[in-house]
């Protein structure tokens, strides 16, 4: 079957976010800016991915896997643009929207592995796990994750600090937050609080995202 068009993917994505993650029952066509004859909608209906009842459009079971993977690609793309390329704000969102459509045919798996199977996007929404994530979990890979990915009470060894802001990183280093140190995450909200040695530190999520921790096996 031919590939879904970009706009069709966007529709699936919105449906997933609103009805699966949110508590909407179906979506008003108008809230998606669609009408019955929109080309992409027809495309989805032909595949039995969605159905229209009254003025609402519903995601069908057949459409769920593709919708889920689209959301996954989008959020992986956000991780790429915001964390790795360091493009933040609206610009980052826009770029992520462009990137997500390029993440096909295994590119998403490669990216996911490179990013070490992240579980949330920069906005804190969950990234649906792909096969690679499940496999990695089964193999029990310790994995290096950003501080934001740890749970409160979890500890690990600081693996590296990604240095988007040199001065801030130097500051952290001079305070003793250095690769090789054991770190214990105490609290995640409203700020990240962690313990290194006998000292406690608080950082916001911008910095927490740049501290990467190796989970114990």
């Amino acid at each position: 079957m031919a590939r879904l068009s970009q706009n069709a993917e966007e529709i699936l994505e919105s449906l997933w976010v609103m009805t699966v993650e949110g508590d909407n029952v179906g979506c008003l066509l108008t809230s998606l800016n669609l009408n019955r004859d929109t080309e992409e909608l027809v495309e989805l209906i032909q595949r039995s991915y969605v159905e229209i009842k009254g003025d609402r459009v519903y995601l069908r079971r057949e459409g769920r896997p593709d919708a889920q993977m689209t959301v996954r690609r989008h959020r992986l793309a956000e991780r790429l643009t915001m964390d790795i390329l360091g493009i933040s704000g609206d610009e980052g969102n826009e770029q992520a929207c462009e990137f997500e459509h390029l993440l096909r045919q295994g590119v998403d798996t490669k990216l996911c592995t490179l990013l070490n199977h992240p579980t949330t996007c920069p906005h804190g929404n969950p990234i649906p796990p792909g096969e690679c994530c499940i496999k990695a979990r089964q193999q029990g890979e310790p994995g290096i994750v950003a501080l934001t990915e740890l749970k409160s009470g979890e500890s690990g060894e600081i693996a590296y600090l990604s240095a988007s802001d040199d001065k801030k990183m130097q500051k952290l280093m001079s305070m003793g937050v250095l690769p090789g140190s054991q770190l214990l995450l105490v609290q995640k909200f409203p700020s990240y609080i962690f313990k290194v040695g006998q000292s406690q530190f608080a950082v916001d999520d911008t910095l927490a995202r740049e501290i990467h921790v190796r989970r114990p096996v």
Binding site: D166, K168, P190, Q200
Partner: protein, 652 residues
């Protein structure tokens, strides 16, 4: 050296924040600097003197620094001392509980060829955690004198004194890093021709790390050609090592520290969570932290400062002591001797130096500010503020500040002038501007707060309107400023010191020091203000000014008499509020008018002192813009609120 007996030798105290530098300073000099439990509160360098075995010493206490490479303003101030002064010894104070973390800076000081004495402080707490520290071995491994101490109980003070007076310069033992790094250091060091306070090795490392101050220093001290060569060489190295130079240096230092600490620390038992740790986690959890904050505000600010300070104490001083015992004899004396009308007016007249200046300053303002500083110092000493900072960080980000700004903002409720000075500790210019503006606009100082609480407490609805309106405006203007002002939003990171029981002496010293500096700053201005107002009244200028202002005041629905309060308000914010107090007692204001006046006055231009500090800290252009903005904002808000209240009949 023939003149060692007469000239003072310099002793410089350095170290991380919160390790007890100021306690060491106090113990050595017998003087009192403020001891705080908040990273980055002392921006100034304190100087004191002491004498040991007939030799006098000048002791310098520097702001906290984490490494020889300064990042914040405080660190720059501290490092500058090391670059410019010529110390007899540098005392590096560290926290025994965090040896491994703080030792890298000791290495840097040694590396810089400074005459270092290491003080391992807070040994008692370390022992409580089950740590045993072999100080002799540490001294041997480092090759510098090491003194163990519990300075707050003066343990180790005598040993430190002896070490200072017997200190003899010995060649520092160099620590060796990885070979490739050493090669680069050598390459730079060999190109350096000038003589610097820091060793060539340290200077080279700082150059490689692109330290601005060192680069400036080099450009002055080196010859044209060697400067050229140095620049090229450092550029080449920085580029080659662009990925991880700073990290590598840090890691190398840590490796050396591990070697130095081999066998020094033994940990005997696992620690258990103490009550203070539990309390600490309650303070940091938003669910329990918010009620704790409310409790602190209610008990500390409302009950103690508002109720006890502004109520009981003011009533006692103003209503009893001054009214019954101080004023009558003075007025009596004045009537007897100050026969000239103008002289009588100057001293005990309506705007007299005595009646207006001293009475307000002593009886009305001092008790309020004093009780505020007491609460503030108490909280500061326990270590509550860093916890508050991390709690509000998310909210503060919305108004363009980081959690770090909690100190200047909270201090603003005591004295906006002092708070504006403290905005210096914020990291970006953008944050400093936003904080300065919000302080000038929406944060009432304690004296003003006390008087306004007193004024409005009889009218709970008016108090509610005042609180809601100011909170809204604070957030709204902050939010707009964050949107409009260019620049990156700030990043928040902070060390959270352990909670501790406040030390009575610390708290008293801090409170008294703050009260003293407030008084020194305020009294001249009160006197100045009353003289200006007196002159204004005698020459009729005051009437003209009031006349000029009165259309605006009338436009926001207030009686003309309030103008005087506004004109006073500029000389001191609280002064203006106190003026309202008089109007209220004579029954000139309706509830709506009172509310509008209180809001406008709170928002209105800061007092003269704050304005001068704004000029000094932010520059003429920014300060003037804030001044004009705040004035417009104050009156238009007053106008709006008046219309709104009249229309809705909310307070009718």
């Amino acid at each position: 050296m023939p003149d060692t007996q007469t000239s003072a030798l310099k002793v410089v105290l350095v170290g991380n924040p919160n390790v007890g530098k100021s306690v060491v300073f106090n113990a050595l000099t017998g003087a009192y600097t403020t001891v705080s439990n908040y990273p980055g509160t002392s921006v100034e360098v304190s100087r004191g003197h002491c004498s040991l075995v007939g030799q006098s010493y000048e002791i310098l206490d520097t702001p906290g620094m984490y490494s020889m490479m300064p990042i914040t303003e405080e660190e720059r101030v501290a490092r500058k001392i090391l670059l410019t002064e010529d110390p007899h010894v540098v005392i590096h104070v560290i926290d025994a509980r965090n040896l491994e973390r703080m030792l890298p800076m000791t290495l840097q000081l040694i590396e810089a060829d400074l005459p270092v004495i290491l003080v391992v402080n807070i040994l008692d707490e370390a022992e409580r955690l089950g740590m045993q520290i072999d100080l002799n071995l540490l001294q041997q491994n480092l090759g510098i004198p090491v003194v163990g101490a519990v300075m707050k109980r003066k343990m180790g003070l005598d040993a430190l004194r002896q070490t200072i007076s017997e200190y003899a310069v010995v060649a520092n033992k160099p620590f060796i890093y990885a070979q490739d790094l050493e090669q680069d250091i050598c390459q730079i060091a060999n190109l350096i021709g000038g003589r610097y306070r820091l060793s060539r090795r340290a200077t080279s490392l700082l150059l490689m790390q692109k330290d601005d101050d060192i680069q400036d220093l080099i450009s002055v001290e080196e010859t044209e050609s060697s400067f050229q060569l140095l620049t090229e060489a450092t550029r080449e190295i920085s580029f080659r090592r662009r990925a991880d130079l700073n990290l590598q240096i840090s890691l190398e230092r840590r490796k050396v520290c591990k070697q130095v600490l081999q066998g020094v620390v033994t940990q005997s038992q696992e620690e258990t969570e103490s009550f203070s740790e539990k309390l600490s986690s309650w303070m940091m959890n938003p669910l329990t932290g918010a009620p704790i904050l409310l409790l602190v505000v209610y008990l500390g600010l409302y009950k103690f400062v508002g109720g006890f300070g502004a109520g009981t104490l003011v009533d006692f001083l103003e209503g009893n002591v001054f009214e019954n015992y101080v004023n009558p004899p003075i007025v009596h004396l004045a009537e007897k001797y100050l026969t000239a009308h103008w002289l009588f007016e100057l001293v005990v007249g309506e705007y007299g130096v005595w009646t207006l200046g001293i009475r307000y300053a002593v009886a009305l303002v001092l008790p309020i500010v004093g009780t505020f500083f007491l609460v503030f110092s108490l909280l500061e000493d326990t270590g509550y503020f860093p916890r508050l900072a991390l709690l509000v960080d998310r909210l503060f980000k919305k108004i363009g500040l980081s959690g770090r700004a909690v100190i200047p903002i909270v201090l603003g409720f005591g004295c906006d002038t002092m708070a504006t000075l403290v905005t210096r500790t914020l990291e970006t210019k953008r944050e400093r501007i936003i904080a300065t503006m919000l302080l000038a606009l929406a944060i009432p100082c304690s004296a003003q707060l006390g008087v306004i609480l007193g004024l409005l407490s009889a009218e709970p609805h008016a108090l509610l309107v005042w609180t809601v309106f100011l909170t809204f405006l604070f957030l709204f203007i902050g939010f707009l400023a964050a949107k409009i002002l260019p620049g990156e939003s700030p990043v928040f990171y902070m060390e959270i010191p352990p909670l501790r029981l406040p030390q009575l002496r610390n708290v008293m010293v801090k409170t008294l020091t703050r009260m003293q500096s407030y008084f020194v700053e305020i009294l001249p201005l009160f006197l100045f203000a009353s003289v200006v107002l007196w002159a204004g009244k005698m020459t009729g200028t005051l009437d003209n000014v009031i006349h000029l202002f009165s259309p605006i005041v009338r436009a926001i629905g207030l009686p003309v008499e309030v103008t005087t309060a506004f004109v006073f308000g500029f000389f001191r914010r609280d002064f203006g509020a106190a003026g309202l107090y008089d109007l209220q007692s004579s029954g000139l204001l309706s509830v709506t008018q009172l509310t509008v006046a209180a809001v406008t006055l709170t928002l209105f231009v800061p007092c003269v002192a704050q304005f001068l500090v704004m000029l000094k800290e932010r520059g003429v252009k920014v300060a003037m813009m804030i001044f004009i903005f705040v004035t417009i904002m104050a009156f238009s808000s007053g106008w709006f609120l008046n219309k709104f209240l009249l229309m809705t009949g909310l307070l009718a």
